[in-house]
Symmetry: D2
Subunit: 311 residues, 4 copies
């Protein structure tokens, strides 16, 4: 095991590497690119890496299913941090190439929905070919296989290319969310602007089960930020749900909601409580009345007094 090694979804020069380098501790870690999300997470499970940064959600494609499915099954892992990165593309070319010279372009298929409109407007005749990653596409341009690649502007230097056009993106606010994943341990203390991730399996064929799941959160005033269904592998129509909730497992309202889920659902997997990226405690929606830790403690004292006949 190496406490100083962080894996990430490679190769070098991807958005994931950029996201990883926004973490202060990255400066003192050995950053190791891996060929896939499962490979990055397996490096954590095996102890080859202390943690791994992988994409989990993007604003165009939604949840990254490879990451969700890896976290949902297999040996448990835990999320310790999240990183939000705005995604814009540059059109990278060999020095001297002009836009009218570009007949073939390449990039990872996930880039396509984000540059499709731009291509239709500016390169209507160009032929698209998929690459294994955006960084790999840049390498193929360097080798002369294609005329241009869509990739992060930061990748230009690595491959001796120039950004001919920058800030290309179809959806405003295109962002990707990454998570830093490690082996299970005690979560960091609450910061006041936290998020808790869990995966919840529903029982067989109970029509109101999803409603009941949501009520366990709502009755304790815990807001949900994301709910994603994923197939369980047990046949069409069998789903589990990946849920992000506001708050920390150390918050009484969150803890009671999780216990409620644990009691009524066949399986619940806790994926971590960690600080929300880009959000300070001042930004957080006020708690619903009656759901602070103090409210819980007061109610607990009141119950004990009544149970003892001291009300």
């Amino acid at each position: 095991m190496s406490a100083t090694r962080y894996a990430y979804l490679g190769p070098e020069g991807t958005f994931t590497e950029v996201a990883l380098r926004t973490l202060p501790e990255a400066a003192t870690r050995e950053l190791v690119p891996m060929v896939s999300v499962p490979a990055a997470l397996d490096a954590v499970r095996s102890g080859a890496a202390a943690a791994a940064l992988v994409p989990i959600e993007n604003s165009v494609e939604g949840g990254i299913t490879a990451t969700l499915d890896e976290l949902t099954t297999g040996e448990p892992l835990m999320i310790y941090r999240e990183v939000l990165l705005s995604i814009t593309f540059a059109l990278l070319v060999r020095p001297g190439t002009e836009l009218s010279d570009v007949k073939t372009v390449t990039a990872h298929p996930a880039a396509q929905p984000q540059v499709r409109n731009w291509m239709a407007a500016h390169l209507p005749e160009a032929v698209w070919e998929s690459a294994a990653s955006n960084a790999d596409g840049a390498r193929l341009v360097q080798e002369g296989r294609y005329d241009a690649a869509f990739a992060g502007e930061f990748a230009a230097a690595t491959y001796g290319l120039e950004p001919l056009v920058t800030e290309i993106h179809d959806a405003e606010n295109a962002q990707t969310r990454f998570v830093l994943v490690g082996r299970p341990a005690r979560p960091a203390a609450p910061t006041g602007a936290d998020k808790t991730s869990v995966v919840i399996w529903l029982g067989d064929d109970h029509p109101g089960a999803l409603l009941e799941l949501l009520q366990e959160f709502m009755v304790r005033g815990v807001n949900l930020m994301l709910i994603q269904s994923r197939p369980t592998g047990a046949g069409i129509g069998n789903y589990c749900f990946a849920v992000d909730a506001e708050g920390h497992i150390a918050d009484r309202r969150v803890g009671e909601a999780l216990m409620g889920l644990k009691r009524i659902c066949p399986k619940v997997r806790f994926l971590g409580s960690y600080p929300r990226a880009g959000v300070t405690p001042e930004d957080v929606r006020p708690l619903r009345a009656g759901t602070s830790d103090t409210d819980f403690t007061d109610a607990s004292d009141w119950l004990a007094r009544n149970q003892d006949g001291r009300a």
Copy 2:
């Protein structure tokens, strides 16, 4: 204070006395009739009596408001037992009186809805006069003031009367429920067929408040047996709710529901957890899956493991 004195809603010979005598311990107590429900409960508050038996609900008139309001306000009291009594009336007369001789009848006004149809059929011409209690009506017949009184058959002997007709009641299954009330103390241990009584005040002018109150019970699988609104005295439309729930305050699901109410409602008064009359554990509806004490303990252990990173 007298640990051996039990007050009850008098006078002697009422249904309340009969209900009280169904309790085994009544044989070894001094039974003291009181003129009203407030007087009986004040005897408990002052220490003049160890406990008081008072009616709280009947199947014709509903909740007995004097009792509910006394338990809701003033110095706290607690319910320790309940007694269910089937209510049927006898027509009591002086020996020798026949039905055709009966021109005037008397009883407490509460008896009237239960004998109205019988009177219309069998004594259409008779004049009704109200008495202060059914037992007092019997005394007035003894004194010759009226020809007949509706009262419990058991009252005949006390007043030298005979039951001319018995088993008179308009509603099938006419029953009255009585409660044995004392000063607050630790409730008796759960029996497996218990009931918990609380009074709950809702916040001002919040349209969904009653729904939220019910959800605190439902989300923990706690069934309600009775919900009665009572005015708070703060003006038209201001109500509190007297609720009877299945289960015991020592049951985890009930305790968590009560804490939930305590957190979201301005005021909650616990009125006691006590065995259900006429119900054995075998009769009780099965718990909803996930709401037994074991389920709560397992979920609590699971939460602690996750909070500690030992999942």
Copy 3:
């Protein structure tokens, strides 16, 4: 039948008469006092009166059970108006009587909780005797049977008495709500500040039934103003619920909620839609988004287009 005769809970000089005289049309009607709520409502059912004014709720005692039970059972009746009246008592005496002369007082038992504290402070030695009505108590003072009566100040002239003390009431904002009841007919058009009254029976022994009842209202954004349980007469624990909801049966959201109740409950009785007393449309809480009549019509058009394949 007499279209010009209005019955009310008598005798003359009661608060009910005062409430009735606040209605403009009362000036042109023959006002007939009746001995009881059932008698007043039976006069409507038989056609002897066009309408009857009866008390239905007071802020000290809660729902007037005689009125609720009469409206719940028997031949259907409908509420057309409501009147709110502030209740304060005067101490009425024969001219020349001083407070120190008052040894006996009388009034209807319902007055007692509203004057109890005042008596304890100002007439601690006086003996209370119940009268059949407050007006009847005043008559008994006129006849010299008692020294003083609690009644409405307006009753003094009728019985040749003087108000020795006025504005007596224990609870601030003590009010009584009265309803004008007639035979069923089309309700008056909505005013923008309306109330709808219904009685709802729940099915046997279904723990979540009350929650489902409330959800039928809440899901359509219909706020409840009052919910009162009343025994159905079918045994302890069998209740129906008298509910007052904001809005008018002609409002789409109210109509859909009532149909929802009709579908899931064994019995629903509509008691009327009528203007709220003392409330103008400006005072009414804003509708929840999506629940106006226009929203319903738009959704209905949208559904029809989709059903026809014209979306």
Copy 4:
């Protein structure tokens, strides 16, 4: 436009073609393979095809996001049929090849999770290369580029290959669901075993919005079979929900639920009501009491009578 032409996700020899041929009308249509889901659906939008069959959900990967996103945005389309197909793979080889000869294998990436365990057990040394489709992989084996391809057994004949191993699948009950999509028109009449698909957008940042969405279905007794979140493209955390509900838009309970959604949600898109594949009316869960068309009609009549004063 061609009413006789059906597009499908090609190339020839895919599972989609097999699914399409299970439809009786396929025998009389010209079946046209398309290179992608968007291309197949655009053929319908442009009128080049009357309908298109595309995969929408599989039991291993979940919702097919390309299909969901195409149906969610752009010019409206409607689902008319669904087809369920069990997915098992065969290992196709050139005649004479034995298992020990297989050093390289290929298939579409979506096949990989379904054959991964089988490969680890039987071909641990073989190298995997991705193909554009399973059929294309078979073609590459025919050309000698790879030793074996995972594909449907039915593809062997097309490419002159033999199935060396059949019935390969990791998850039991691996199935794919396909939908037949056309331009909007009136849905076929209900069969008694129908499904309704909609996409629902939630309002901004309203924590309870998903719960309210579910309640619109639940309060009318409409069961949900699937709920899938999809990003709206408006930034991280902005999702719409693709929902499959039991029943038909012509069913009153479904229609009222859809109108409820339309009123409270910023946008709802109806995707069709169509027969459930592999389910007969006898298999359908019984309706919740009070939610049949007759119950709705009765309630509607009852409301009208009360609105008219004829109750």
